[in-house]
Amino acid sequence: MARSIKNQQKIINTILAWSIGLIIFFPILWTILTSFKTEGQAINDPPLFLFFDWTLDNYAIVQERSNYMKFLWNSIFVAGGSTILGIIIAIPAAWSMAFAPTKRTKDILLWMLSTKMLPAVGVLYPIYIGCIKLGILDSRAALVIILMLINLPIMVWMLYTYFREIPGEILEASRMDGASVWKEIVYVLSPMAIPGIASTILLNLILAWNESFWTLNLTAAKAATLTAFIASYSSPEGLFFAKLSAASTMAIAPILILGWFSQKQLVRGLTFGAVK
């Protein structure tokens, strides 16, 4: 008896969950579908789901007309660059906090996290003016540095929690086996920490890719990333839904895929470990 009730329950759950899931996912699905339509069919009433003339034209047009590749490259450069730069700085910092903690370690960690809480508007002008004075407004370099800085606390934090999960005795054993601090990091710690480092990189790539404050305000023609590029579609000419969909799909596809792999990291990184 219990078993058939369980199965019944499972069926209900499945139907309910899938329905809600599809509703939530619908905007994304719709965007992807629309990217393959002609502009005329994109605004068709009633909306066409699968039976339309599939075409890749929009993708071609978006690339030709607005040099999509350049923006894509900027996004990759900025997201990747800030993540790599951040990781190089964050790994040693997290190491020292995890393995050589002092009484102040906890406070320093919390302070670092609090810098992430800083509202961007609060420092908008100084950064803006700073970039102008240094001649780096609308440059990828400026974005790389700024995005690195705003995500550094999360990177340090995540690495710290991953490092702490490594059993201390293994590192002591390596010390007894004659490894210097450097060799300890290279031969013992890093291999064991690779999953943690990978997770941190993953989450940060996503956060940097989607960042939409600094990328919108500090860039113009040269360094604009995909976020800014898409924003330029907000005052369009003529029919543009299909093209918008194509551009959007290309912009979000990489992250959707990465995002699937990074759910656990998301929880760890953005709740600062307070929820496990």
């Binding site: 329950q9 499972k10 499945t14 969950a17 809600i20 899931g21 939530i24 996912f25 905007p27 994304i28 719709w30 009433d45 009633p46 909306p47 906090m97 050589a100 906890k106 320093i108 919390l110 670092m112 810098t115 809480m117 800083l118 509202p119 961007a120 508007v121 609060g122 420092v123 908008l124 002008y125 950064i127 803006y128 700073g130 800085l149 550094l152 340090v156 702490r164 601090v181 996503i206 989607n210 939409s212 404050f213 995909l226 976020t227 924003a231 579609y233 907000s234 839904f241 918008l244 969909s245 959007s248 979000i252 992250i255 995002g259 759910q263 953005l270 709740t271 470990g273 307070a274 929820v275």
Partner: protein, 292 residues
């Protein structure tokens, strides 16, 4: 003594770049903003016009745009919080149940969070909310109703809808993690003690979720206060959707009244810090818990 000391100085060296950079990142811009907040500074109309003390601070809160911005901020942040937390709990509970294809359903639920804010803003604005060509317009017409002018007449609700869609996955994921960390045996014991589903929910699950919900609320509040892109690409602050953040942004970059905008920025920083203190306390406690 040597062995530990060596490690300690190396450790300090390794922490230095991160600490110095973040310190610089915090201090330099902050002091600059503070500096400007006490000046009348209009780069487009005369430049540096001297010290004005707390004038900017007063003018900021007495300007006619101030209270509407507070109103907009409260409505948006508050509504999104309520929607995401309530729905988040329900969805998390659902996801926790046995079903087929759970992995895929999870992806469906979580996807919106990974969509760029500019993309989600524009997709919603045009493909859904456009009163002529949007899907919602089609749907309204199908039901025989006049399509709504979402962004011009129901602007706050529209923004709330878009932002909730984006942040619901976050709340769901966090709450799901929290639910799954609940000791199964507790629930089983309660079941044996005769508690039905509703009672188990109220007496065991809800209290356990309390902490996670608090964290979700705190973190989301901090991030929601500074949402920008969604407003930027949909309404550009019109129709009463100008939040505090957007107002400050406009003062600084659009009307270029740097002094006034900086004062606003200082207000925003203070507000965020107050929230941060609460959040840090909880995070700090969980750090200590890990120690013991």
């Amino acid at each position: 003594m040597m062995s530990q000391l060596n490690t300690r100085s190396i450790a300090r060296l390794m922490m230095a770049p991160a600490v110095i950079l973040l310190l610089g990142w915090m201090l330099a811009p902050l002091t600059t903003t503070l500096y400007f907040s006490f000046k009348k500074y209009l780069p487009l109309r005369g430049g540096d016009l001297g010290w004005v003390g707390f004038d900017n601070y007063v003018r900021f809160v007495t300007s006619s745009a101030f209270w509407p911005s507070i109103y907009a901020t409260l409505i948006i942040v508050g509504s999104v919080l309520i929607i995401t937390v309530v729905l988040g709990i329900l969805l998390a509970l659902l996801l926790d149940q046995p079903m087929w294809g759970q992995g895929v359903v999870r992806i469906l639920f979580i996807a919106p969070f990974f969509v760029m804010p500019t993309v989600s803003g524009l997709v919603w604005k045009n493909m859904f909310m456009d009163p002529i060509n949007g899907i919602l317009a089609h749907l309204w017409r199908f039901l025989g109703l006049e399509p709504l002018q979402w962004l011009s007449h129901y602007s706050l609700s529209s923004v709330v809808m878009i932002v909730s869609w984006q942040w619901l996955p976050f709340a769901t994921l966090i709450l799901l993690t929290a639910i799954q960390s609940l000791d199964r045996e507790q629930l089983e014991a309660a079941e044996m003690d005769g508690a039905n589903t509703l009672k188990r929910f109220s007496y065991i699950i809800i209290p356990h979720l309390f902490r996670a919900v608090t964290i979700v609320i705190l973190i989301q509040t901090i991030f929601l206060l500074s949402i920008f892109a969604e407003i930027f690409v949909t309404t550009a602050g019109a129709f009463g959707t100008k939040t505090l953040t957007y107002l400050i942004f406009q003062r600084i970059l659009e009307s270029q009244n740097v002094g006034l905008g900086s004062a606003g920025g200082v207000y925003a920083i203070i507000l965020a810090n107050i929230l941060a203190i609460f959040l840090m306390r909880i995070v700090g406690k969980s750090l200590d818990a890990k120690e013991s």
